[in-house]
Structure formats: structure tokens, C-alpha cells
Amino acid sequence: MLMGYSFADLGSIFAMQAFAGLSLFSVFLLMALGLAIIFGQMGVINMAHGEFMILGAYVTYLCSGFFSAFLPGLYAIYFLVAMVLAFVVAGALGMAVEWLMIRHLYRRPLDTLLATWGLSLVLQQAYRSIFGAREVGVELPEWMMGSTHLSETIDIPINGLFVMALTVLITACVFAMMFRSSWGKKVRAVVQNRTMAGAVGIDTERVDRYTFGIGCGIAGVAGSAFTMIGSTGPTSGQLYIVDTFLVVVFGGAQSLLGTIASAFSISQAQSTMEFFLSGSMAKVLVLLGVVGILMLRPQGLFVIKVRR
């Protein structure tokens, strides 16, 4: 592998691969954050997570159409508006779903899995009926495409940087919300002991609904961001679900820090292996590795040891 390349080549490749790994990391983390809140903190298995992401993507698509038709002057910044809208729309749908469905199922986690799978089928068909079976192309403002040219062989994609920045921002927000605000305390209290939290005056239903909504909203933002690197179609959401769950579970479901660590390790492993092996084999090996480690360490990488 190393033969035939000059040191300059190797250096720049190393830099590029590192960047590829990092951008994969931010993609994984962005996918997983919403789920980490919903699954890790609330214990709800949301199989429709991918569909919430695609909802964000469709919102972005609609926004792009709207701005180019009515506000062409502001087209350059439409993406920022779209992301906010994606958060709001996906979050609102999430809250509706929580109210109609999830709140009746907190004691039956495996049932939430089935019900949300049903929801994902319904959403897929709804997308297909509304937007057509074909994929839609989401156009990006010119400044977001392209790359900064650092040297002869090193190009840093701008949208990659954008996704990274977004990931950092959202992660920071989530952490601030969960660990620095009274809201986060309430969420954690409800997660640990629903009855007790209710008894001390926390409106658990409200906490649940908003937490679920925020998780879905983050999924929506992720979906919106992914229009820069992936496809938007009725079934595109399904592509993400296995990866997303593995990231969350691998990290130790209850630990947000674990989610970050696991997104990092899985993405680095994958992008390194992809470089040395064919794409298919790399994927298989990474998944096998994750499953293998989970078998040895079922609680995931990070886990709080509790006294039983």
C-alpha cells in the first residue's frame, strides 16, 4: 500500500483521511444524538428515527424551492432557515407522536419498537404519496459547495466543515441542556424514577413530550444537514437506522459521552478500513467488531456502575 507514493502524497493522504474520518464522525454523531436522547435517556426505541431525519431533508427541499421562487435574494442563507424549520417541524411531529403513541408505551420498550416501525412505514408511504417515489435533489447555495484548497492534494470540503461545526454546536447545546439546565435535571429525574419525579412535582408528561420532541427535532436537523452529502427519498431514512442504533448502544445507551466516544471509534475504524479494504468488507468488519465488543461488554463502552 505504501509503495509507489511519495512522502508528500502520504502526508496529504493522511491529512485527507483524518478529515474523512472526522467528517464521518460528525455524521454519525449527528445521526445518533437525537436517538441518544430518545433511546438513551427515555428508553424509547424509535425505529422511525430515520424517517424523522428524512422529514428534515424534505423540509430543506421545500425551503430551497420556496426561496428560489420567492426570495432569490436570500437564497444564500436559505439553508440556515431550513435547518431551523426542520427542527421545528420534526420536533412538532415528534411531540404529536409522543402524545398519541409513545406515552402509552413507556412500560413496554419492545412495543415502542414495533409501533414506531409501523410509524416509519406510514411516514415512508406518506412521503411517497406527497413527494413522489423518486429522489428529490436539494440544491445548495454556491458557497456551501466546493472546497478550500489547502495544497496541491489537500482539499477540505466546505460542507464537511459545516457539518462538523453544526455537530459541535448541537452537541454543546445538548450537553448544556442535559447537564447545565434545570430542564436536564428534570429529564434525568424522570428517566431514573418516573413515579418519584412525578411525586416531587415534576410534570413528567410535559418533560417526556418535550424530550421526545427535541430528540426528533435534532433528527430533523441532522436530516437537513445530510442533504449536503446524501440522498433524499422516501426510503432513504432506512439506511441510517442500523448504524444509528449501533452507535448509541455501543456507547452505552445512557451515556451521552459514550455516544460521542462510540461515534468516534466506529467512524475512525470504518474510514481507516475503507482506505485499506473494499467498501463492503470494511463495513462488514466494522459491524462485526462492534457486535463482538458488545457481546463482551454488553453495557457498551461507557456505563455507570450501579448498586443493585
Binding site: Y5, G137, G146, G230, S231, Q238, E274, A282
Partner: protein
């Protein structure tokens, strides 16, 4: 070079009518109709197909739900258009075509089940359908066992030939070889990097491409496959940057394409400088990819929506009239459009709907109204067709840059490439 140079200039065919195709074959169309008006069902249908004195029933079998619906929608639309046009002209042997549409649901066993239903229960005279190789492989034994007729529209890997199937798309050598020759000659390409989705069509296509490249003493710098639905291509793009191949040769399918081209562009690879040739991205896929992300790439297939010939100039507006101004037409969609027409022509030549007679009459059937120009059915049930190279524009269309002077012979079992 303009695509118009290649078209024949028959002025009459410029008229924008639904009935454009028949202008080219008036004799064929009129004569059997006169016959059919007198012919009772029994005489044109000796095997109990769903044919009455005024109607004939056919099946359409594509995925309209599930992951493949993305690709197959265009085929359904084209087939329905062709059938509507044929009916408007008086149908087949004087009988209006009725359609039973079934959903394969992107699931191969479902395709088998539905094809059996169409043949055994509905007794359809022909089926227009399937898209992926897997669905075709699943239904093939059914068509052979129950003696049905399938018109299969997709470009595919070859290695197959059946009495019961007419392949209206190109088999691999037809699609690949001319394009490779062109890129070698025109671009002086010496090294190639082959990328594909991990299943039979890309692997077989790349196998043929590799043999052809190596036969010319040139180099394959890399060959890689990605799971279907893969959306991460940054690592391989880095490898491409490192190896600097003259040509990136692509057979990645589905949503992965969107991810690939967006990431390629973001990585600063300019397709106006880096030659990329795809055999899997039609105008349909560009809708999802976004024209600005793929502009400059070359595609190698037999049909582009922008083809400048009278047939196509009637076909495209007709398609848009039926399915909306925004509709786009890709290679497979056009090939799907050929199916009902070829079937009509064959039935009328055979003077019967009987499958055996239709199968026997198929070789030699020519369709002069084909949007791609002209096609003829070969003895092996594939089509003689031209191979074309187009260059993607930012608006999602291709500019024709090359087409083979002659029709290419279909060769599903190519010697020396296996």
C-alpha cells in the same frame, strides 16, 4: 458537435402528435387492423389468454412501494404512455389493451408471486416489468414454466437468454465497450478506477470493462464495491486522489449515487478536469443528485432525453403531457416505452397473441418509431441498438457527444469477456 447531426431529417415526423410512431410504419399498422376486425378471438388466441373480441389484457409488474420504487416509477409511466398511444391508434389486432398492474414491492419473492398471478390467474398476453436483475431472475422460471412473455427494460449484465423474455435494454457489452473505446481514443485514457455497488450487475459490468481495458494493454488502478445504500465515499475519493486515474468508471446505483457525486464535488474534484464515466446514472438519477453536482461527467447508454431526432421530439412532449412538465426520461424509461410497441408489432406480424407465435415472430421485428432512433430484435431476443456517450449538463440533461455509427449487436454471452 450537435446531436442533430445524427438524426435522419424526415420532416413529416416533426409533428407533435401522440400518434407519432406509426408514421414510420403505416403498412404494418393498418393491414392487421383490417384483418383483426374480422378475426374472432379464438383464431388469434389458441391458448386461452385473456383476449376477447375487443380487448386484450396485459400486465405491468414493477415496484411501486419499497426502495426500488425510486427507479421503477419511470418505467411504469413509459409503459402506460405506450399503451395509451397504442389504444388511441386502435389497439393491437383491433383490440384495446387493458392493463393489470401489480406491485413487486421491491421484494423478489413478491415479484415471483405476482408474475405467477398475472400469468396463471389473469392469463395476460404479455407482461411489461421488472427492473433489477434479482427480480428478473426470480420471475424467469415462472415465465418459462407458464409460458408467458416478459418485456424487460433495464440495461443489465447479460449472461441470459430466454424464449420468454425480450430484453429492451442493453446487455453489458453493448453498453460498455463502445464507451470505453471512445474514452480511450478521445481522452487518451490509460488508467481506470472501477467503482460499483456490490451486486451482480456492477460486478459483471466491471469484469467486462476490466477485460476490455486490459486487452488494450491499459491499467485498472483500482476496483471497489460498496454495499447497496452506502452513503460514505470519502475514503475512496481520497484513494482516487492518490492514484489519479485517467477515468473513474462508475456503476454505483440508487441513493449511493447522490452521496457519491455530492461528496466528490465537495472534495474538490472537478468533473471538467477529471474524466468520469458512468453507466448507471440516467436523467432520473440526476434528479436526486442535482445537475450541478454531476455536470461534466460522461454517461454511456443508448438513450438520452436530449436526443435530437423526430421520434424523440414527439416522444418527450407526449411523455410530459401525460406525466407533467417536470418529468424526466432516462435510458430505462425509454427502453420500457419500447416494450408495448415491440409487442404490438410482433403480435401483428404473427397475427396471433399466442406466446409461442409471438416468441417465434420476435426476431427481426423493427421499431422505427423508437425514441432512441431505430431498434430491431435480434435472434437472441435482445435489441440491436446504438451506443451513445453523453455529457451531463448542470440542468440535469445530457449532451450527446458520441454515438456509434452502426447498431451494436447484442451479445449476452460474450466470448473472451467471461
Amino acid at each position: 458537435m450537435s446531436a442533430g447531426d445524427f438524426s435522419s431529417d424526415r420532416p413529416s415526423a416533426l409533428r407533435r402528435k401522440l400518434l407519432f410512431g406509426m408514421a414510420a410504419v403505416p403498412g404494418l399498422a393498418l393491414l392487421p387492423r383490417a384483418v383483426a376486425a374480422a378475426a374472432p378471438a379464438a383464431s388469434v388466441n389458441s391458448t386461452g389468454l385473456a383476449v376477447t373480441d375487443s380487448t386484450v389484457t396485459v400486465g405491468i409488474l414493477h415496484s411501486i412501494t419499497g426502495t426500488m420504487a425510486i427507479s421503477e416509477t419511470g418505467s411504469v409511466e413509459a409503459e402506460k404512455l405506450a399503451i395509451a398511444q397504442i389504444n388511441e391508434q386502435g389497439g393491437v389486432l383491433g383490440r384495446k389493451i387493458q392493463v393489470i398492474q401489480e406491485d413487486g414491492a421491491s421484494d423478489w419473492p413478491t415479484f415471483a408471486e405476482k408474475s405467477k398471478k398475472l400469468l396463471v390467474n389473469d392469463k395476460v398476453a404479455a407482461v411489461f416489468g421488472c427492473w433489477t436483475s434479482a427480480s428478473r431472475k426470480a420471475v424467469l422460471p415462472v415465465f418459462e414454466q407458464y409460458n408467458g412473455m416478459l418485456y424487460y427494460p433495464t440495461f443489465y449484465e447479460g449472461l441470459e437468454q430466454s424464449k420468454n423474455v425480450i430484453y429492451t435494454g442493453q446487455e453489458a457489452t453493448q453498453q460498455i465497450l463502445a464507451g470505453l473505446d471512445w474514452v480511450m481514443k478521445e481522452k487518451g485514457a490509460k488508467t481506470f478506477y472501477l467503482l460499483g455497488s456490490d451486486y451482480i450487475w456492477p460486478r459483471t459490468s466491471n469484469k467486462i470493462a476490466r477485460k476490455h481495458i486490459e486487452m488494450h494493454g491499459l491499467t485498472v488502478a483500482g476496483e471497489e464495491y460498496f454495499p447497496l445504500g452506502n452513503t460514505e465515499f470519502n475514503s475512496v475519493i481520497n484513494k482516487i486522489k492518490l492514484k489519479k486515474p485517467d477515468v473513474i468508471y462508475m456503476s454505483v446505483v440508487g441513493g449511493s449515487n447522490v452521496a457519491f457525486y455530492k461528496q466528490l464535488k465537495a472534495a474538490g474534484i472537478d468533473l471538467n478536469k477529471q474524466t468520469l464515466m458512468t453507466i448507471s446514472v440516467t436523467e432520473d438519477e440526476i434528479l436526486g443528485i442535482g445537475g450541478e453536482n454531476i455536470a461534466g461527467a460522461y454517461a454511456c447508454m443508448k438513450y438520452f432525453q436530449s436526443l435530437d431526432n423526430p421520434n424523440n421530439k414527439a416522444f418527450v412532449p407526449a411523455f410530459k403531457k401525460m406525466w407533467g412538465e417536470k418529468a424526466v426520461i432516462g435510458d430505462v424509461t425509454q427502453a420500457a416505452y419500447l416494450g408495448p410497441w415491440l409487442w404490438k408489432l410482433t403480435v401483428e406480424k404473427a397475427g396471433s397473441f399466442d406466446i409461442d407465435k409471438v416468441a417465434a415472430a420476435s426476431p427481426g421485428i423493427e421499431f422505427k418509431g423508437a425514441p432512441e432512433g431505430y431498434v430491431r430484435i435480434h435472434e437472441n431476443h435482445h435489441l440491436w441498438s446504438k451506443s451513445r456517450v453523453g455529457r451531463a449538463r448542470a440542468d440535469g440533461q445530457y449532451d450527446l457527444v458520441y454515438e456509434t455509427p452502426d447498431l451494436m449487436e447484442p451479445n449476452p454471452f460474450p466470448k473472451g469477456y467471461q
